[in-house]
């Protein structure tokens, strides 16, 4: 083992030597400079591996041959080793990245940078309080100089503000040190801690500790004493900002970690508050931010606030503290450094200008990695860390903190994903991105490290051990082979899905089997149209595969964490998928906002459940009693964001309508079922937990969702939006049917899930292909396409008959089951609403098929041909399935009924041949014989068709304007196409039901956040003096609060 003192020696020695070495030529100097940093990195890594692999114990290193308190001592333990490895490696990458910047400023810059690294290493290693001061000052001065080398005005003024703030902080630090010293007589931290806890109450000691800790906290840039820090992030060179945000913040966090044991309980509590406050407020302020580096600054500060919170909650977190802390820290460290570096490469002042990297998939990939890592999506370390954090907080009843952390996380999602949306979706920019290799390599490395760290850190948690990373690895491979042409990747993905299904399916029970089939078959069916795409379709296959990996993960999940992990993978994948649509920027954003919000609610719910039962299994939800209502509401709301129940639905129409043609069926027919699956798991688990009132409410929610979804769909002019609203309504039926909680109700729900999957995939595929071909979503711009696209027409015809519930197709089964279910349950009025909304569906279904296929054809579509065969193949596969299911539903329903019989014994369906019937008190209630009905209808249809064809065999086939038009003719096809605002009379009568109240409500909420963000961020008015006042006021304010004994 190399004594860590050599780290300091090497850095210091090199710092002094470099100027003289420089005489040998700049190349030698630079080589030695890098060799030095590599050497210290190697030393720290050597220690790290010693701790991790060989299980070495922490060691104390004494300087000058004395033991403390006579001398300064360093401590090298696992934490220190991790941190200095991180810091030194980060600094190495930073040096590579900033090399050009250093070169412009000559040898001095290299020296200063060495000192900078030295300071941080010292901060981590030392156990002497005054030494902390010294190293802090070394770090700070080095930072000032590094900032000041950039002679731009903003850099200088930011540097000046930083120095003033740093000066005040160091004054406080000194004051704190001397006050504590005067009472404890030692500068050694361990001695001090022992002495302080022994000393009892003493005002001087109290003030000393307070002021010491607050000076560290100020250096950590907490709210509100952080106006200067934002200017620094914005003003200075990105390489330096990266270092400040990543490495020096890491060192300072560890300082806080070291000195916090000095603090009293009240003071610790206050730091907790300050941390959370910083996390919330920074993210709130960030949402109005347009400047790249300042936004990153806000984000940094927010993350550090969260870390401060974690450090201050160390006692609560117990054994898991280190994992949580490092999970969050490493994510922040790597992602934020990467983002700052990327920002330096892209050189975009405003976040909107980042659109110029649109054509650079690798940059986009790295950017996506970073923001996902920041937000805590799988597989990054922050996910498991946040998960554990919330779990443990819930165990301690800290619901307020959980709520605030969730709120801030959602705000973070808002601005980071909005930014991501800008990159992919704004108008192309002419500007070129230069990609200097030496600057890119560090970014590549941190990207890679994030995945590696994600794997190891996730698995270091108990919960994370059960995660199956193999499918994710497949997604990773898809990213790597993205340069291949579409047909190879498409085939590969389909084979993979089939193979996975082949492995997975045999071991599943009926319920999971059904959903697995929906996901897997849905996957295969919706991938088929991919063959029609030419070129490479960069980015599509990895994210689509990611979504399916998440979906299948849900099926496989046994524990809360597995479920949540899969849920987040699915959310991320589907978000990227939706974002691929042409005009989907804002819709994808609202999708991810609702999804993330829903996911956090689920997290909260799981945490509460875990807190009460202590179990991590999904089935343990049934044992929740104290928090039952709360858990149920949270989880149900979480899942209902995915099923887009009314109130939480506003993301769906845009997201589904603006997605690509073959993505719409993926997200509408398949993805929504994930929410249904979640609800089913929840309902099964919590059916006996005294939440029946909530089922009742959910029943109403489902009914209202169904009605309003269908009504709004009737007033759409956009074909895909119409289908999207229809999905909302269909999911409303499913929610209603589930909430009934009887056997036949659940049969209806399952039947709806299956059939909705089929006919909505069918409709979205057919309509999507047409939209793709016609390049318009507007139904009134279509018309008369039956003659050009008869195959698509048949698809849509079958689709709408099935959806409408007209016998003999499968949709009627759902209606019949639902009628039986709600009447037997006694939910008459909800049921009447459901029945009414089922009828309203006819309006939009007619509008859909008429506006697209019937009526006069428009001039520009006269040469239109049938859509791509790759879109037709899945459609006809679905039609075949629908036909079979329509006549023989017993195949599925009987098994499902038996499966649910143990869980829900009430109101079962009895099968007799192909006929289903329900009974009340042994007397026949309802009866339905799908096979017979199918035969009767088909025979009748054939006979009548034969008769009519014979009777009108001599009929003249006429053209579209051969109509009786009051003895005139229409002016143009457009005038004869009655499509726009088709149900205006209906709107006149019932339009009051579809006032956009929900949209207005959410608009109000977002406006509220944005305007308050815009209002309160004026707090940072740019004046250094005001910042001084913030700092002093911050200290004084909290001093009085603390002294006043409020806590």
């Amino acid at each position: 083992m190399v004594n860590p003192i050599y780290i300091i020696a090497i850095l210091l020695g090199l710092g002094f030597l470099l100027p003289s070495i420089n005489k040998a030529g700049i190349k030698v100097t630079v080589t030695i400079f890098f060799l030095g940093i590599i050497a210290v990195t190697a030393i720290s890594y050597q220690w790290l591996s010693a701790f991790l692999i060989d299980g070495q114990q922490a060691v104390q290193i004494f300087t000058a041959g004395f033991k403390p308190p006579m001398s300064i001592n360093l401590q090298m333990g696992l934490n220190e080793a991790v941190l200095i490895t991180l810091i030194n490696f980060g600094a190495l990458l930073g040096a590579i990245y900033s090399f050009k910047y250093f070169a412009e400023n000559g040898i001095q810059a290299l020296v200063v940078f060495l000192l900078f690294i030295l300071g941080m290493n010292g901060l981590v290693l030392t156990r002497d309080i005054f030494n902390i001061f010294v190293f802090l000052e070394i770090t700070s001065i080095a930072t000032y100089i590094l900032i000041g080398m950039d002679l731009r005005l903003k850099s200088l003024s930011a540097g000046f503000k930083y120095m003033i703030a740093g000066g005040i902080a160091s004054v406080f630090l000194l004051l704190g040190i001397i006050l504590i010293y005067s009472k404890t007589g030692t500068l050694n931290l361990d001695g001090m801690i022992a002495a302080v806890s022994a000393a009892g109450s003493s005002q001087i000691l109290f003030v000393g500790v307070f002021i010491l800790i607050f000076s560290v906290v100020i250096e950590l840039k907490v709210f509100p004493a952080n106006g200067w820090a934002l200017d620094v992030y914005e003003g200075s060179d990105t390489g330096i900002s990266a270092m400040i945000s990543a490495t020096s913040a890491t060192a300072l966090l560890f300082v806080l970690y070291k000195v916090l044991p000095l603090a009293s309980i009240d003071l610790t509590k206050m730091i907790v508050i300050i941390g959370v406050l910083t996390f919330v407020v920074s993210n709130l302020f960030a949402i109005m931010q347009k400047s790249t580096n300042r936004l990153l600054g806000y984000s940094s500060i927010g993350q550090i606030g969260l870390l401060v919170f974690v450090i201050a909650s160390k006692d609560i977190l117990g054994d898991n503290f280190e994992k949580i802390f490092f999970g969050l820290l490493i994510s922040h460290f790597l992602a934020k450094a990467g983002l700052f570096w990327l920002s330096g490469i892209v050189k975009a002042e405003k976040i909107q200008d980042w659109v110029k990297i649109k054509k650079h998939p690798i940059l986009i990939f790295m950017f996506g990695t970073f923001i996902l890592a920041l937000m805590g999506f799988p597989p990054f370390p922050s996910l498991a860390a946040k998960w554990s954090l919330v779990m443990i907080l819930a165990e301690n009843g800290s619901f307020l903190w959980i709520s605030l952390v969730i709120l801030a996380s959602i705000l973070e999602v808002l601005y980071l994903f909005r930014w991501f949306g800008y990159i992919l979706k704004l108008e192309d920019s002419e500007e070129k991105v230069e990609k200097p290799q030496h600057q890119l390599h560090p970014v590549y490395i941190v990207t890679l490290l994030l995945y590696v760290a994600g794997f190891y850190i996730t698995r270091s948690f108990d919960a994370g051990l059960s995660i199956n990373f193999i499918p994710l690895a497949f997604v990773g491979i898809l990213f790597l082979i993205d340069f291949l042409p579409v047909y190879i990747k498409n085939t590969l993905v389909m084979i993979a899905v089939s193979y996975y299904g082949y492995i997975l399916v045999p071991g599943l029970d009926t319920l999971k089997l059904i959903f697995a089939l929906i996901f897997l078959v849905g996957g295969i069916l919706t991938f088929i149209p991919g063959y029609s795409v030419k070129g490479k379709r960069i980015g599509f296959y990895p994210v689509a595969a990611m979504m399916y990996v998440g979906l299948i993960g849900l099926i496989e999940a046994e524990t809360f964490f597995q479920f949540f992990f899969a849920w987040e993978i699915m959310t991320a994948g589907s978000y990227f998928l939706i974002l691929r649509g042409k005009r989907s920027m804002s819709h994808a954003l609202s999708y991810i906002l609702f999804s993330a919000g829903g996911a956090y609610l689920i997290l909260f719910g799981f945490a509460l459940s875990g807190a009460e039962t202590g179990s991590i299994l999904l089935t343990s939800l049934s044992e929740v009693h104290i928090y039952a209502t709360m858990v149920f509401i949270l989880l149900a709301l979480g899942f209902m964001t995915k099923t887009a129940s009314i109130g939480l639905h506003i993301w769906l129409p845009g997201a589904h309508a603006e997605a690509e043609s073959d993505v719409s069926p993926m997200v509408s027919a398949v993805l929504l079922k994930a929410g249904v699956f979640g609800l089913i798991i929840l309902f099964i688990a919590m059916r006996n937990n005294d939440v029946s009132n909530l089922f009742y409410i959910l029943g109403w929610v489902g009914a209202i969702t169904a009605l309003l979804g269908n009504l709004i769909a009737s007033f759409q002019e956009d074909a895909k939006k119409l289908l999207a609203y229809s999905s909302i309504a269909q999911l409303g039926y499913i929610l209603f049917a589930l909430a009934i909680m009887t056997n036949v109700g659940w049969l209806a729900a399952i039947w709806y899930s299956i059939t909705h999957f089929l006919y909505k995939a069918l409709l979205f595929l057919a309509v999507g292909a047409i939209v793709l071909k016609l390049k318009t979503h507007k139904m009134y711009e279509m018309g008369g396409l039956i003659k050009k696209m008869p195959m698509s027409f048949i698809s849509v015809l079958i689709g709408i008959i099935a959806l409408s519930g007209v016998p003999p197709l499968a949709g009627f089964g759902g209606k019949w089951l639902l009628y039986n279910a709600f009447i037997l349950k006694g939910w008459y009025f909800q049921g009447a609403i459901i029945a009414f909304s089922g009828v309203v569906a006819f309006l939009y279904l007619f509008k859909l098929i008429y506006s697209i296929f019937l009526g006069p054809i428009k001039d520009k579509h006269r040469k239109m041909t049938e859509v791509s065969v790759w879109y037709l193949i899945p459609q006809y596969l679905i039609i075949a399935t629908l036909m079979v299911l329509s006549s023989k539903p017993r195949m599925i329903l009987e098994k499902v009924g038996l499966y649910f019989k143990e869980i829900l014994p009430e109101n079962t369906v009895v099968w007799n041949g192909d006929a289903a019937s329900t009974f009340v008190n042994g007397k026949l209630f309802g009866v339905w014989d799908p096979f017979y009905i199918m035969i009767i209808v088909c025979v009748m249809f054939a006979v009548l068709l034969g008769f009519l064809l014979f009777a009108s065999r001599k009929a003249t086939k006429v053209e579209m304007f051969n109509i009786v038009y009051s003895a005139e003719r229409p002016e143009s096809p457009q005038t004869a196409h009655f499509s726009y605002n088709m149900f205006s009379h209906y709107r006149k009568a019932l339009g009051f039901l579809v006032l956009p109240l929900v949209t207005n409500f959410w608009n109000f909420i977002t406006d509220l956040f944005h305007s308050s963000s815009d209002f309160f961020r004026k707090f940072y008015n740019g004046n250094a003096q005001v910042y001084i006042m913030h700092i002093i006021g911050f200290v004084v304010f909290f001093y009085f609060i603390l002294n006043g004994g409020i806590f």
Partner: protein, 120 residues
């Protein structure tokens, strides 16, 4: 009122004066001076904490008998700290002044109010 108390009071007064100066003066040089005054105040306070009435400076020369040194001299640690703090303070102040010069070169103004471009 002994000497320690006087130095303490002076030190804290200087800190307050320094802060007052930093908060009220618009001229950046004066703000730096304010910070310098605060630092001086802190240094005084530190020295005062280490001072023990009737003892001498912790310099081991002929005036102090080596064997009894620990009972003759004042606490040496604060003195060492103050020395370090002074050195660092000077360095920081010098650096700040260079920043001010650079800023002045660019905008020909010393008023802190003129450097508010970065905000919100």
């Amino acid at each position: 009122m002994n000497i320690t108390t006087i130095v303490h009071i002076t030190g804290f007064a200087l800190i307050l004066i320094g802060f007052w100066g930093m908060l009220t003066q618009k001229n950046m040089i004066k703000i730096i001076l304010g910070l310098a005054i605060v630092e001086t105040g802190v240094q005084l306070v530190m020295v005062a904490f280490g001072f023990i009435d009737g003892r001498t400076a912790p310099i081991l020369d002929s005036a102090v008998e080596l064997s009894k040194a620990s009972s003759l001299i004042v606490d040496p640690v604060p003195q060492a700290l103050v020395l370090t703090a002074i050195v660092i303070g000077v360095a920081v102040n010098a650096l700040m002044l260079t920043f001010v010069i650079r800023l002045y070169q660019q905008k020909k103004s010393l008023s802190i109010n003129d450097y508010k471009d970065l905000k919100w």
